[in-house]
């Protein structure tokens, strides 16, 4: 076997030499691969990771959650409803077509028509091309999240995607189920071109010769992306040198990856909050703020992060992570079992009560273990928990039915903004606006909703921050939900793959800027 290995490396070496001394290639392994090559078909982490490799947004997030110009070089708000973007000149698509305002407007219209993205773009009324390199964006009302939303505008090659394919279907059509031109073909402005793709097995990328960002330090010519679903196998692939970069590193293997001299472990605080919601209409006890508060006091979030998450999370007391406008640093996690018991007695439940709890078992990191821990913590204050965990595929329909008294949900704000948490998780349910779509607790406070509405048309960040902080404080004081922690993000990279600078809390590494030194 040893001789086999030597032989193989000789072959590999010869192959590398014949391919040219300068070609740098890396292999990366994620836990899943993107569903489609169409950047606007599904709003998911996998799609965005791909979009940042093959396309460029108008602006993008930096590691410090600031905006960085990409295909838009500058922007200016001309009145409270209008923002004008100046576009980068001399950018070409992979097809060779030049990128102009026409492509940006075309892509914007396509986003507004996409089932997955139209929610984010709901407040955007129109986009018009002023000249070849200027577009004007109009919102329906004063809108504070123009730039947040512009991070989703990845201009597509309108010439390439216009017309009909060999089956006579529109090349630009967004097809959820079945085949479409855009789900198989790509032409973007990004640093990489997809050269080969076998879904669920691998995607191969080559660096685009005509990439506009010549200032980028990135030096990787070829990338092979392989999904490796099983955590131990993904870690083994990194440790054995079969791949150069993996994400995520499972909590159980953090120490192992960290201790290994041949690889680097990179972690960042994430923005996905894990919470429990308490259903006030199913279980009348939970309608009493004192009982909800008692539950919050009984749950040891810090203990969960320490023991179950192995430190791989940031203990939370609110939905907004640090860095978001609504984050209130004064809110601290509540944990005091004696106080919890006193509150239960005050509410008239000294002898406790029983409730049902449900959680997924393959959606969030250690989700079922967290639920079991919370159930046993509640037993200390005489709450008997009937816990049921299930795979996410069955969990979500159950969640939609609001089938248990306490249900787990994790949330990442697509807009990277505090108001989004409240809108989906704790606002009064409203089928027309979609508010409270994931509010299984039925918490409803018109005062809180009014703050969200005011914040969403306040364009001054300072004033807006005040409103959102007030909103978080109300939710905290009424124990609207039980915040647990923000899941951390983790990447493992072989030494020499300088991945630290390209990762971010949004979990889409900017591979175009990746520097590999050997």
């Amino acid at each position: 076997m040893k001789r086999f290995g030597t032989f193989a490396s000789v072959i590999a070496l010869t192959a590398m030499m014949s391919a040219g001394a300068h070609a740098t290639s890396i292999k990366i392994a994620y836990d899943a691969d993107p569903v489609s090559l169409d950047p606007f078909e599904q709003l998911s982490g996998g799609t965005l990771q791909l979009s940042h490799m093959v396309f460029d947004p108008l602006v993008r997030w930096t590691q410090d959650l600031e905006f960085e110009p990409r295909l838009a070089t500058s922007w200016e708000q001309t009145d409270e409803l209008t923002t004008v973007f100046k576009l980068r000149e001399g950018v070409t698509f992979h097809s060779g077509n030049p990128m102009t305002a026409k492509d940006v407007v075309w892509s914007f219209e396509r986003l507004k028509a996409s089932d997955d993205f139209k929610g984010i773009f709901a407040d955007f009324e129109s986009m018009t091309a002023i000249d070849d390199y200027t577009v004007e964006l109009k919102t329906a009302k004063p809108f504070p999240l123009v730039l947040h939303t512009a991070t989703y505008i990845f201009p597509m090659d309108s010439v390439f995607y216009t017309g009909t394919d060999e089956n006579g279907n529109d090349k630009g059509a967004i097809v959820k189920h079945g085949d479409s031109f855009a789900s198989r073909n790509m032409s973007g402005t990004g640093p990489y071109i997809v050269t080969e793709r076998e879904q669920g097995v691998k995607v191969e990328f080559d660096r685009f010769d005509g990439y506009w960002d010549t200032a980028s330090p990135g030096n990787v010519d070829e990338i092979t992306l392989t999904p490796i679903k099983e955590d131990p196998t993904r870690v083994a692939a990194l440790l054995s040198g079969d791949v150069d970069f993996i994400a995520p590193v499972p909590p159980t293997d953090l120490d192992r990856v960290d201790a290994d001299d041949s690889v680097d472990l990179i972690t960042l605080a994430g923005t996905r909050i894990i919470t429990f919601q308490m259903n006030q209409s199913r279980n009348p006890a939970l309608a009493d703020p004192k009982v909800r508060m008692a539950i919050d006091y009984a749950v040891n979030n810090a203990g969960i992060v320490d023991r179950i998450m192995k430190g791989f999370g940031t203990v939370g007391a609110q939905a907004s992570p640090a860095g978001y406008l609504g984050h209130n640093p004064e809110l601290t996690p509540r944990f005091d079992v004696e106080k919890a018991k006193a509150l239960m007695a005050e509410a008239g439940y000294a002898d406790g009560f029983s409730l049902t709890m449900m959680a997924p078992n393959n959606r969030y990191v250690n989700d079922d273990k967290i639920a079991q821990a919370v159930a046993s913590m509640l037993a200390q204050i005489n709450i008997t928990v009937d816990l049921k965990t299930m795979p996410k595929a069955q969990y979500w329909p159950t969640f939609d039915e609001r089938a248990a008294d306490m249900m787990m949900i994790g949330w990442h704000a697509d807009t990277e903004d505090s108001a989004n948490f409240h809108q989906f998780l704790s606002a009064c349910f409203d089928a027309d606006t979609g508010n409270g779509q994931y509010n299984s607790g039925g918490y409803c406070n018109p005062e809180a909703d009014a703050l969200m509405v005011a914040a969403n048309s306040e364009t001054d960040p300072a004033k807006r921050g005040e409103l959102l902080v007030e909103l978080e404080t109300i939710l905290y004081n009424e124990a609207a939900f039980i915040p647990l922690h923000w899941q951390n993000l983790s990447w493992g990279a072989r030494k020499g793959v300088d991945a630290g600078p390209i990762v971010n809390a949004l979990n889409f590494p900017y591979f175009g800027d990746l520097v590999v030194s050997e």
Partner: protein
Amino acid sequence: MFAYLVKRLFQAAAVMFVISLISFAIQDNLGDPLRELVGQSVSEETRDELRDELGLNDPFLVQYGRFLGNAVRGDLGTSYFFKEPALTVILKKLPATLELVAGATIIIIGLSIPLGVYTAIKPNSIMSRLIMGISIVGISVPVFLTAIGMIFLFSVELRWLPSFGRGDTVDVIGYWSTNFLTLDGWQHILLPSVALASIMLPLFIRLIRSEMMETLQSEYVRYAYAKGIAPRRIWFVHALKNTLLPVITVGGVQIGTMVAYTILTETVFQWPGMGFMFLEAVNRVDTPLIVAYLIVVGFIFVVTNTIVDLIYGLVNPTVKLSRMGA
């Protein structure tokens, strides 16, 4: 023979019909496929429109009738994830799984016959006791544990063999690309094959051993000894042939079962076969693919059982297929 095959064909059709009915009936309990097709913030209303478009809101019988209508024309539906006909997806993944099963079968046959015969001839030697002891351990350790253990030993610690995937494959014909024509391919298939073989190998060693011990006690073997035939010839020609009859029967069924075990092995090794594909399909609630997989696997079972019966007839001339067909 012909009558027998026709009868088997009808049996296969009946089996697949029942499988399709059952898998269709349970698909509502697998979860909501729309959840996997759209992002988290898409409204219930939009999801319902999509559900309508996909025909998922129709009554069960309407959906099943539509499925059967398409199925007789060879269309088992379109996979939500792969966006291709489910049957095509499975046929693309099938060669990888069959090669894995073939690799494991070679290991099982190559090891179980000599080891089984040896432990039968010398039941009290230290070597025999060691083999039987290890086989007890092998049969009780779950396959994913064996697999992960091997990955960490041979890939991470020793760095002899790759940890995942198929490596360099060579296209043969159609969707079939093979691992057996490159060194890299052999290196990639070795660990998964051993992992898959580890479940069945102890069973076969024990089966051959006990059958062999029984045969060695029989009259004709004693007569052969008395006649002065070389022991080696008695063991491997006269005794082994009769030993193999029950082994083939069990073996045929077990190869079918092995297809089921590929689900675990392929998942651990990220082997791009249909076992891994099936587990992913369940996670993604890709119902057309799930139903199609179950039907194809049902078909494989029927085919292997038929082949086993045919081989049985060849090995043992007293078995008449015409009688079995009647």
